[in-house]
Symmetry: C2
């Protein structure tokens, strides 16, 4: 089969690789039809995080079940499914608690499972990982495009909102205008927030944030941005969604948070390792820091219901669609911030 591989910073190439083979009774083989490029993929692409060269990339697969193991009960070949960025069993303590990212039988894409940006992936725990799309929507391209973000960024933005404690009538601030931040705006609106201030540095993305439900946007950087957000929220808000992961974004989030409030953070920590977080800034104001890597499987069913109801549609975050051969160009376009998020549509599975 053909799959996108990482060959070093800036080098993504589609190569012929062995098709994953089903090897466990709880597994399934998926023919990938839709996938995406993630902001977190850019870190190894830029050489800012380590990744083995020659490794398969991608972690947001959607497709058709081709084969299932003998113990799989909830799926059958031909079903339309999507998978979160983490593989989870659905049975262990953590999955039962909705913390699928800490699954004791979990795993990740790549390696022998295949990467999400390839023609096939193997899912070792099919029942626990895969989410089935009802048949009536299984081939509706527009609906599938709206569902695809549930593999990662929509669930991640939602995790930020949930961890920030956003509820009916609340005021919140979303730090970051990337795909996750934009989904955070959608999530905050969905949870009933009355005032949603979106912060970012790109006018086009902030416009989309406003379409998604942001009541105000803040484009200023650094201190000026903090000042503006605090003004708009009457001196800071109890609910801040940190959707970037950079140390500077975390500082901004804490500076905007009202004493006794909560920063819900989901951005993969980046640059924080070197500097570390200044706990004192949290301590003196009793600001809670909640969140982490999003267990998007836990949220998938509820979010899917809303997408199918037509009340939730994150699809505008996809500003470009490429085919498998276009994945490398997709990385480049996202890296240079030409695009918010790139959808990869894999039609041809000739072997």
């Amino acid at each position: 089969m053909r799959a996108a591989m990482y060959n070093g910073p800036g080098e993504i190439a589609v190569e012929e690789v062995p098709k994953p083979a089903l090897d466990s009774p709880r597994g399934a083989l998926i023919r990938v039809t839709h996938t995406a490029i993630c902001g977190s993929d850019l870190w190894f692409y830029r050489g800012e995080s380590d990744r083995e060269t020659g490794s398969a990339v991608g972690h947001e697969p959607m497709g058709i079940v081709e084969e299932t193991g003998t113990d799989v009960t909830s799926l059958k070949p031909g079903d339309r499914v999507f998978a979160p960025f983490v593989i989870s069993c659905g049975r262990c303590e953590f999955c039962r608690r909705g913390l699928h990212t800490s699954c004791t039988n979990g795993g990740s894409w790549g390696g022998e499972n295949g990467g999400g940006q390839g023609e096939y992936v193997r899912v070792p725990e099919a029942d626990g990982t895969l989410v089935r799309v009802p048949d009536r929507y299984a081939n509706d391209e527009e609906t599938l495009k709206s569902i695809l973000p549930l593999t990662d960024v929509m669930g991640t933005g939602h995790h930020a909102a949930v961890n920030a404690g956003v509820g009916e009538g609340d005021t919140c601030v979303v730090v970051g205008d990337g795909a996750v931040g934009l989904c955070g705006v959608l999530a905050a609106r969905r949870l009933g927030a009355k005032q949603i201030v979106a912060m970012g540095h790109h006018e086009d993305r902030l416009s989309l944030a406003a379409e998604f439900g942001a009541t105000e946007t803040v484009a200023e950087r650094g201190e000026a941005g903090v000042k503006r957000a605090r003004e708009l929220t009457g001196g800071g808000t109890d609910h801040v969604l940190e959707c970037v992961g950079a140390a500077s974004a975390m500082e901004t989030a804490i500076d905007i948070c009202r004493p006794g409030g909560t920063v819900g953070y989901v951005g993969v920590p980046h640059g924080v390792e070197e500097a570390g977080l200044d706990v004192f800034s949290l301590f003196s104001d009793n600001i809670s820091l909640c969140g982490g890597v999003a267990p998007v499987r836990a949220y998938a069913d509820d979010l899917l219901a809303d997408v199918l109801d037509g009340t939730l549609d994150p699809s505008p975050i996809f500003t470009k669609t490429v085919d498998l051969d276009g994945v490398s160009e997709g990385y480049r376009a996202m890296d240079e911030r030409e695009e918010i998020k790139v959808l990869v549509r894999i039609d041809d599975h000739s072997e």
Copy 2:
């Protein structure tokens, strides 16, 4: 009047200083009869944190109301009262939310208010700050000794337990066997925890932790301590009370916390400024970090009720009592860890 003053690292001296004067209609003047030395006082005493030389020390006053301003409604001269380590108005947004440490009209001891380790203090916001002890207990020395920790450490330990989310039937780990950690054990027991693992490095303090309700104690340091606590709790617990503030204690707390759990922290961050907190250790396991400087005023009424009921007694943390002239010796004894916490009994107020 006479008051303990900080004259540089290791130098605490009782000096003759001007008696504070009542200068606001909402204020009160308190004749201090009982006060204490705090673990957090040791940091300037050791020269590890900055403090102006020639400044009055102490922040845990209990005494008798000597004079009240014209607007004070809840107190009258002769009342037995105690005060938290932070002055709060009781009226502002944050006081109403129970976050008295972020009071917009708040203040601290020292300066023109006088320090808690002196014969008199002025309370600019008497109704909002002071807690009245019912008359029938006003001169009961044993009861007063049990109440005095409510000025700081008992409320602080309780804040850790509340922020760690400890509830009925829970398992929790308390990191630290100082006065705050010991009070954290009491608080966890009071909130219904079934298993309470106390961690520290002093056998005598861990014995007291066991008396206070710890079901197990862990004296091992570093990795060995983490391993033991994780074993005792079946692989880590959802509720960790970090009651030290040192960077190493915070790391221990995070290492013991179960994925999806919460570290409730109340120790003044210390050493964390340099190293910073490794956010990644929280991120990957979705561990929440909640807490901060404890709004002990918010908890004082409830905790006082339990002390007066006889169901809560933190007084064993006071392992030594000195008079005002003994304050310097009290600092030394606490600094050298001869004593857990020193009570200062001020009898004579000859002027």
